[in-house]
């Protein structure tokens, strides 16, 4: 109950912001922060709960973005349909890639997910209709009333997506599925011996995680009015999606949210005030700091402080 009240308050605050603030860049940057909340939350379902480190975030994100772009080019379908298609396509990729890679463990799984990203990028570089290597210019339609700007509308769409992803992650974490995934992370053999269908659970996590990443990517072509493979399948998405849960804490749904809000806000500020390159350095330094100083992230740090009292 508390969670839903909190979610409603956050949603209301974001909508109020959209109604009151008239500074376009705020929403442009806010969209990115919220997008990383979705990506990190999605990553954490497989990476945090089940312990399978996925470097393939750009593959799912990019497939979502391209699904939306290609659908829009072909049929001029509205944004809601683009998002739905992105979810389905990225979910299917999650299921398929999971079937092939989830039998691998540890570092081998991580490497396989990088390969998935490379494959996806190669496919879209060579697909002429989707713009090939040069990319695709897209003309934004008029925003739907009551929105007066398309960016504001996308901001609200991403805010709702973020709330929905967090609700899904929280549900999984607290259900029997979450306990099964934790058992997988702790010991896969013992999990099987305790009756946990490990492969099925991992596939489920990979599918849901992939679908949510696809949804995070779906509005991207409209956000930029442009799509192109090199930046869409960029590893920075993978790094952001991994670093945020690590910084915030992987064991609790709040961890990726805190991590993503902190990290991407900081990145936005650094990008504007210092330079675009410095923000990558920032991620690296923060990540090393947290791995050493607070291996259970900010949430874990607070939990330990509370327990000590």
């Amino acid at each position: 109950m508390k969670f839903w009240i909190g979610a409603a308050v956050v949603a209301a605050a974001l909508v109020a912001m959209a109604a009151l603030v008239n500074y376009e860049y705020f929403f442009f940057a806010g969209y990115t922060v919220l997008m990383f909340v979705v990506l990190s939350t999605a990553w954490n379902i497989l990476g945090g709960y089940a312990g399978y480190v996925n470097f393939g975030t750009p593959a799912f994100f990019g497939l979502g973005a391209y699904s939306a772009a290609v659908l829009y080019k072909a049929t001029a379908a509205p944004l809601a349909l683009q998002i739905a298609l992105a979810a389905v396509m990225a979910g299917l990729l999650g299921f398929g890639a999971g079937l092939l890679t989830l039998r691998l463990r540890g570092i081998f799984f991580a490497i396989a997910t990088i390969a998935v990203t490379v494959i996806m990028q190669t496919v879209f570089i060579n697909w002429r209709y989707a713009g090939g290597a040069t990319g695709l210019q897209l003309l934004r339609p008029e925003p739907i009333a009551p929105f007066e700007s398309y960016i504001k509308m996308l901001f609200i769409v991403m805010a709702l997506t973020a709330l929905a992803s967090v609700a899904i992650a929280r549900y999984i974490e607290r259900s029997w599925i979450g306990r099964g995934l934790r058992a997988v992370r702790d010991s896969e053999e013992a999990a099987e011996a305790s009756g946990v269908p490990t492969l099925r659970l991992k596939l489920f996590a990979c599918t849901v995680s992939g679908a949510l990443m696809g949804v995070a990517g779906a509005p991207m072509p409209m956000y930029l009015s442009f799509i192109e493979p090199a930046s869409t399948f960029n590893l920075t998405y993978a790094i952001g999606a991994i670093a945020s849960p690590m910084i915030g804490g992987t064991a609790h749904w709040l961890g990726p949210v805190i991590g993503a809000v902190l990290l991407s806000s900081l990145q936005q500020i650094v990008t504007v005030t210092v330079s675009n390159e410095t923000n990558v350095l920032l991620v690296g330094v923060l990540l090393v700091f947290f791995v050493v100083a607070a291996p259970e992230g900010i949430v874990g740090l607070f939990r330990r402080l509370l327990r000590r009292r």
Partner: protein, 238 residues
């Protein structure tokens, strides 16, 4: 007594190495069955094949009248084959109680509200109730062994395979674990015990099989096993 577990012509190779060759045995309902043999003789491989962690290359495993050798491990657990691990593998991010709630949710399909009191009872009977809310990472060796057994029991098995549950424990701790296994057997659970501590196996088992280099070299009562010249040569070091 009818056979609960029947293994016929079981073979398992790792590359060119034959870990098990043509192993056949039957364990009766309610029996206390001992499995001994030197290191590397295939004991753990055998129970990995039975519990489903490994797939056997040839042969059959019939449990409660059903061929299970092609089922994934979790399905076998759900049918009533539970095991403990030689090197304890607790779910270390969970408390002791939560460890037990994993099988109770996935095998018994019960909600936590129902599973918790049952799990507490199980912990009480095994002498781990005071650690229910401790994290698995805070437990001592003997407590970890008990947790292994308790978690296996939470799957409500017909057959419990105890893989060296007593290795490395002190004398009184061995007695403690042995008492637990006797109690479980009295409640109707068939038990296969793999153990190096000979007094424990001899006291516990009604029947013993000795493996050497992946083959059964001897089968019989504990008393006859220790007299067997092959066993003495292969295992007891006479």
């Amino acid at each position: 007594m009818s056979a609960l577990l029947t293994i016929g012509g079981l073979s398992k190779n790792f590359g060119g190495f034959a870990a098990l060759t043509d192993v056949s045995l039957a364990v009766a309902q309610g029996e206390r069955f001992g499995l001994i043999g030197p290191n590397g003789s295939g004991k753990t491989t055998l129970i990995n094949c039975v519990s489903g962690l490994l797939r056997n290359d040839a042969g059959s495993i019939v449990f409660a009248g059903e061929e299970v050798s092609r089922l994934p491990a979790y399905q076998r657990t759900r049918r009533g084959i539970a095991r403990s691990f030689q090197v304890p593998r607790p779910f270390h991010s969970m408390t002791v109680l939560e460890n037990l709630l994993v099988p109770s949710a996935y095998v018994g399909h019960v909600k936590d509200a129902e599973g918790e009191p049952r799990a507490m009872e199980l912990l009480k009977s095994i002498g781990l109730a005071d650690k229910a809310n401790a994290h698995a990472s805070e437990l001592s060796q003997v407590e970890l062994r008990k947790l292994e057994l308790a978690r296996a029991m939470a799957a409500q098995p017909k057959l419990l395979i105890s893989d060296e549950a007593m290795a490395g424990l002190a004398g009184n701790e061995v007695d403690e674990v042995l008492a637990i296994l006797f109690k479980l057997n009295e409640s109707g659970i068939t038990i296969i015990m793999i153990e190096h501590i000979m007094q424990a196996v001899m006291r516990f088992s009604q029947r013993v099989i000795c493996l050497d280099a992946g083959k059964i070299i001897c089968e019989g009562t504990p008393a006859s096993i220790v007299q067997n010249p092959d066993v003495q040569k292969a295992y007891l070091g006479a």
